[in-house]
Amino acid sequence: MPTSNALRELRRANPRSDPDFDRSLEATDDLANRIVRSSPVLPGDATRPRSPGRALGMRGRAPVRVGSAVLVAAAIVAAFVIVGRPGAGGIKSASAAVVQAAEATADSASSSGTATVAMTHDGEAWTHKTVQWDGTDLDVVDSSQGRQGNRELLVVDGVMYGQDPNGRWLTLGSPDSIDPGTGTTPDDYLAITHADVSGATLSQIVAGMTDLTTEQRDDGSTVYRGSVPAGLVATKDGFKEGESIRVFPFGYVAHDQAADPAALLDASITVGSDGLISELAVRWGEGGSAWTYTVTYTNLGSTGPIKAPDNAQPFPRRSP
């Protein structure tokens, strides 16, 4: 069958025949080197699933990877500092104390809690987000500058709500309508919060902390400080606008020094007098490039019920 004029024209329109195509290729000249430099292969990578489809699931990728080689190596050299904790009745390592606090936190947080995630840059507020959970109900509010009170997600009794530009509440239906694998379904948020407070994230950070020191505060809380590889905190990685990035839990990009998974960041974990972890803070950079990333946990096990908005209207159907 002779090729139709339509198909001939289609083949002529192949982007490879565009004069700019070669320039596009030239722009990638250094990409291979950048990939190799920025992403050393870790032994843990070899255990990933073979199927590109499954392996590419962004949700499963980063938390599982977490640079197990770095984790193991760092754990080996982790400084064990002998401390006495109030009520502990004995001597234990700082690492063990924090792990124990993480376990206690997990129990309290399994039902409800509030996590406040904040970043600062050069001393100025950069982002601010509050995540409340109560069972499977979830309320995520972005209070970053310019987005005060912008509710990212509200799910009550399996129904998702949102606000239109005029602030009116709309019933958006089941959270199942959010594509899985995006990292921000209600299940994703709950998984993140539970992972953080249940010790999965914290245990990794603790295990990776070196030069561990402790500070006993008058209010009965204890602050554990040390250095931790950025890759243990900002576990997700990827590219944005051609540059490699790493991403903290709750989706914030780890800028500057924290983008290097091997870079040592200043970390602190605060354990309250109740034995529960109350804050995880990470700091890096100096002067105008100084950053902080802080997750504060409050009301673990005692966060009140999350309420559905009054007078939420059905979501208007979009005409075809």
């Binding site: 982007p15 990409l31 292969v41 590109p52 949102g162 594509d179 990827g238 606008e241």
Partner: protein, 208 residues
């Protein structure tokens, strides 16, 4: 760097040199924006670097990279929808991006207009065949269907594309005959004038 690392890096560089053009082209027409295409390209080769042992040899590597790129781009779209879920729900349309100017009435403008008239699934198999030179079996591997299914889709996609192309072409001829030129029509403009306008208003990246 030990010898194994050096060998691994050599294999990766070889793969990159041999296949980057294919991935650049694929991401160029498959991603929504030039920026997404750039990110997808980097992500694809990052994945290839990490899973180098899983990347097959020969032309199968190209298919593996396309399948990977397809999923990376799908994730980008999901991420974008997630980031602006509420805005999307309120029917705010995405920005078309900067313009790639096709000469009005040119075959290229009609090609792109006809492609936009196809269903995304048809467009995908058509371009995998016509621009990426994949066989139906390879297309099946990329999009995750049987070769026989891909063959059927491709047949239908070619037919539909030809119909759309020829219809647009004949309307364009008729419009030129009626007006003598491609005057600016707004209300009641014919399809050809409309798709030319659309062609000018939309970027090749995002293409489709």
């Amino acid at each position: 760097m030990n010898e194994t690392d050096a060998e691994r890096q050599r294999r990766f560089n070889e793969l990159f040199r041999a296949r980057r053009g294919d991935v650049v082209a694929f991401c160029g027409w498959r991603a929504d924006t030039a920026s997404d295409a750039q990110d997808a390209l980097a992500e694809v080769f990052l994945i290839a670097w990490r899973r180098l042992d899983e990347v097959p040899d020969g032309d199968a590597a190209r298919v593996w990279l396309y399948a990977t790129a397809r999923r990376v781009i799908a994730n980008q779209r999901r991420s974008r929808r997630r980031r602006s879920a509420l805005r999307d729900r309120l029917a705010i349309q995405p920005d078309g991006g900067s313009a790639e100017v096709f000469a009005p009435g040119s075959p290229e403008a009609i090609v792109h207009a006809a492609l936009r008239r196809l269903r995304p699934a048809d467009r995908e198999v058509l371009l995998l065949a016509e621009w990426e030179n994949l066989t139906p079996a390879q297309i099946g591997e990329v999009v995750g269907c049987l070769a026989v299914t891909a063959r059927g889709r491709l047949h239908r996609a070619r037919f539909r594309f030809r119909v759309e192309f020829e219809e647009l072409q004949s309307r364009g001829r008729a419009a030129r005959g009626a007006h003598g030129t491609h005057g600016a029509q707004t209300e009641g403009e014919d399809d050809h004038a409309h798709v030319e306008r659309t062609s000018r208003a939309q970027a090749r990246q995002p293409a489709f």
